[in-house]
Subunit: 112 residues, 2 copies
Amino acid sequence: MRRDVFQAIADPRRRAILSLLALQTLTLNGVAVHFKISRPAISKHVKILTECGLIKIEQKGRERFCTAQLQKLDEVSDWVEQYRRFWETKLDSLEEYLAELQKKEKKNDRKK
Amino acid sequence: MRRDVFQAIADPRRRAILSLLALQTLTLNGVAVHFKISRPAISKHVKILTECGLIKIEQKGRERFCTAQLQKLDEVSDWVEQYRRFWETKLDSLEEYLAELQKKEKKNDRKK
DNA sequence: TAAATACGTAACCGAAAAGTTACGTATTTT
DNA sequence: AAAATACGTAACTTTTCGGTTACGTATTTA
């Protein structure tokens, strides 16, 4: 039962669930109606996402509200970003270099 | 046989292989000596990484040199970055916002 | 209070993942 | 030419994954 963020986002359905919950908190059934698989299957996916901290659950009566905790994705971001210099420094065209530069600036703008 | 980047980096051993190859090109055996699992096992991991574009292989005689193709990680980066605003500029809930505010006020109270 | 609802979970299943050993083959070394 | 090396791959095993159905339970609605 390896439950890290990398393994959690490996499944396309779990990524889809996250993209739903990024926009709004939903009950478990609220999530389930967007998929053709059964509710227990969704329940399992949500459990996995919860166990690795990508989702937070709040119980209200018989309902369970799922909220995305996307700051957990920082772990993935950090891992990827440590390699960025390895692929950004070797570019095969000036165009790509400039495009990459602009992208970087936008990213920095967002960060601060 | 789902071979996308997300699934490829889900395995911790494959991430370790990538971090080795980020620094230097290695033959398959050159990779294998860093792990306690068997060479065929490494061979399989390398195959998976190659199939999803994270590694490039160059055969020279009986040796196969593996080079990381880290620009493929852009797919992961892009996916994560689309959610950054959700955790950096937006708060998860009004409750958390207010709690954060109170915390800050208490801190100020203590200072004066 | 009875029925409907919103779940969790257990039991089960097939497929895929991750490992092993055994063996084949091309290339290099001696 | 023979031995050693650097692999790939097939066959097999064990776990894990992702799904299902069936059922139990607490809460809400009628």
